[in-house]
């Protein structure tokens, strides 16, 4: 690594949790991320919104390399994402992710879902992992479901387990990829409540969501993406009350009409 890059990393390490620099990505010939640059500070809560197909999910999935980018740099917690597997392991350990479709492991109990990664990745003793898991399950308000299997739980409960599962690894950063989009309306609130509580505890969060109420309540910054690029970003109040671009105005009008 060159001198300047090393210096940059040290500098960023102390300031930023996530840095994206001119990130470009193509799916075949489809240009899905165009020169995306963004910095997320420690303890900052960022909400990413935009119409479907705007590249917001792809961007968030690049941060823990479920998708790989082709151009530009991504630095997470001071480590640059490259093909180096060791760097990737380090980053995935520090970054938790919650998916739209929960992706709990159906063949394991709720408790086993939560203890699996701490035991195998963090090499935590089983008893300790179970204690940690129970404390997070209590925090998402479903300790009594610990012995059940995911299939026995409602969607909202499953998503809360998914959040607890990610938290059990004690990540520094949490990524949420449309966590409430697959939920029935009456279950959205229970998941958002958990996320709000988490945001207030000072977790660094990047959250792709259409829940504008959530954005208003907890986000430090809202980033609006369209057609693979970041069009506009700013505080929630500024973004919602004084949108600068036509694309954001159009998007907001569609979102509000939908609600």
């Amino acid at each position: 690594m060159s001198q300047t890059a090393a210096q940059l990393d040290t500098q960023l390490n102390s300031e930023a949790a996530i840095v994206l620099e001119k990130v470009n990505k193509w799916f075949g010939s489809l240009h899905v991320l165009r020169d995306v640059s963004m910095t997320v500070a420690q303890r900052e809560r960022v909400v990413v919104c935009g119409p479907s197909g705007s590249g917001k999910s792809t961007m968030i999935r690049c941060i823990n390399r479920l998708e790989s980018h082709q151009e530009g740099r991504i630095i997470v917690d001071g480590t640059e994402l490259t093909d180096d597997l060791r760097a990737l392991d380090t980053i995935r350990r520090e970054v938790g992710m919650v998916f739209q479709s929960f992706n709990l492991f159906p063949h394991l109990t709720i408790l086993e879902n939560c203890t699996l990664a701490p035991i195998w990745v963090r090499k935590m003793p089983k008893d300790e992992a179970e204690d940690v898991a129970m404390s997070f399950l209590t925090r998402v308000k479903i300790p009594e479901q610990a012995k059940k299997y995911p299939g026995q739980l409602s969607g909202g409960q499953q998503q809360r387990v998914a959040i607890a599962r990610a938290l059990c690894m004690r990540p520094k950063i949490m990524l949420f990829d449309e966590p409430t989009s697959a939920l029935d309306p009456e279950m959205i609130k229970e998941v958002l409540d958990v996320m709000i509580e988490l945001a207030e505890s000072g977790m660094t969060m990047v959250c792709v969501t259409h829940e504008m109420g959530f954005a208003r309540q907890v986000a430090d910054r809202v980033v609006f993406m369209d057609r693979g690029e970041i069009v506009e970003s700013g505080t929630p109040t500024r973004m919602f009350e004084d949108p600068q671009t036509d694309r954001l105005k159009l998007f907001l009008s569609q979102i509000l009409r939908g609600h």
Binding site: N64, L66, D89, R92, R93, V95, G96, M97, F99, S101, N103, L104, F105, P106, H107, L116, A117, W120, V121, Y149, G151, Q152, R165, A166, M169
Partner: protein, 379 residues
Amino acid sequence: MSSTTVNDTGSTPRERPPLLVAGPVAWMRANLFNSWLSSAVTLALLYLIITSVLRFIDWALINAVWSVPKNPQGIVDATACRDIKGSGACWAVISDKYRFILFGRYPFEEQWRAALCIVLFVGLFVVSAMRRFWRQELAYIWIGTLTLIGILMWGGILGLDYVPNDTWGGLPMTLILATFGLAFAFPLAVFVALGRRSTGMPAVRILCVVYIELVRGVPLISVLFMASVMFPLFMPAGINPDKLLRAQIGIILFGAAYLAEVIRGGLQALSKGQYEAADALGLTYWQKMRLIVLPQALRMVIPPMVNNFIGSFKDTSLVLIIGIFDLLTSAKVALAEPAWQGYSTEVYIVLAAIYFVFCYSMSRYSRGLEAEFSRSARR
């Protein structure tokens, strides 16, 4: 009358539908006698079934000869059988030759060892079938039991006489070929299936594809011929691994290729989200496969896997053509004895029954397992 019926059902709700709508009589009327033609066909088939069953009972039980006398030199006198040939079964061939059919040329006084091996095999299958034993220890049970079977068959230690494996035969041989075949083919198949889907290592993927396609492109018979005839030609002089081992390896390589494709189906059927969730948690590739992917993928492919096992169990009989003494070979050799020539029907019926017991238990078991899994999936 119809109006009274309606009134009746209105006042006292009936617990069950009337017999003529849902009972066995109704079923027969709907399925067997619903028209002129179908009634005729039903009756004709009924007649055929009854007469053939009666004739079979006549042949197999009533007119059958169960044993024949032996003269002091130990030569059987099959005259009784010859007298009833065509009208009755000669089960005497079984009672005379059953030990040869079951154990082949294994030394007569040592055949208790081969019999014990059969018991061990069956015990191993039963234990493996119980979900309560589905954990790490099962692998050790397999290794232990297979080692024990090896010791019993070969001997040479613990005061057991050494029995070279070219005298092994019969049912133990079939079970050895099938079980060792499965025990090695299964892990190999898992690796090949994973290799075929690996994106990071193109060389491994190509190797796996070539292996699967090569093996699937040729019949098992030619694999066995290659193993027994061609393979030694390519080996340096003096090195000549024994024929049984070569055939066994052929069966393993053949079975693994088919099994790998079945397992690959399971890997593909598993949702991408499961792989991603495991990745996002920081699990390594092997942890992801062992803890998340394989337990779910293998569960999904139990029915086609069992189908495969049944197929390879029966395929082991093809070793007949390279002169390995499995159940089928020893039966054929038993029939070559002058006194018993011409009684192949009886012997093959017994053979079929043995194969059927094993294959049908596998099939029943997989059906039960499938039902159990679909119940727990709905949980």
